[in-house]
Amino acid sequence: MLNPDVLKARIEQALPGAQVELRDTTGTGDHFEARVVSPTFAGLSMVEQHQQVYGPLKDVLQTGELHALALKTYTPEQWSKVKR
């Protein structure tokens, strides 16, 4: 059972300035969805953006403690368009 605040903090630490919204989708502490908005994503492909988020969570993904993380990644510019 993973604490969403811990996951959120890890992503924020790896991507300074990122806005992270995290939700436990099943209530079981192993399936989450996240929306990450970060200026670091500028110029990166979607695969590369997701890899940046997976990076700081590699250990819990490997052990299966984190079974699924549905991801949406945006640069601040992209996110301001999506929000409208």
Binding site: M46, V47, H50, Q51, Y54, K58, L61, A68, A70, K72
Partner: protein
């Protein structure tokens, strides 16, 4: 972990088949919601070559190292790593998936 034989196998599968999915279960009987969704998005667009990672634990670990991607399913289109269920969904929503397959 990935050895040379496994890497050669992935290279071959990915270069010889336009749409490859490393997934849990088969296209007919997916054993995970994310794998099922990925199959359902790609199936109308062409012939799928799927590999059931649950049947082959070394493939399950190996493909993660091969593509530097920590989750299953994993999709390769025309020899290139595309991503997992989220990215395939996003590409389908943007209408870009079909163009990638047709090339």
């Amino acid at each position: 972990m990935i050895n040379d034989a496994l890497k050669a196998r992935f290279d071959k599968e990915i270069s010889e088949n336009p749409i490859v999915i490393y997934m849990k279960g088969s296209a007919l009987f997916p054993q995970c919601g994310f794998s099922a969704k990925t199959v359902s998005l790609l199936q109308p667009l062409g012939k799928l070559y799927t590999v059931n990672v649950l049947a082959e634990p070394d493939v399950r670990d190996g493909i993660k190292a091969y593509s530097n991607w920590p989750t299953i399913p994993q999709v390769f289109i025309r020899g290139k790593f595309v991503g997992g269920c989220d990215i395939v969904t996003e590409l389908a929503e943007r209408g870009e998936l079909e163009a990638m397959i047709k090339g």
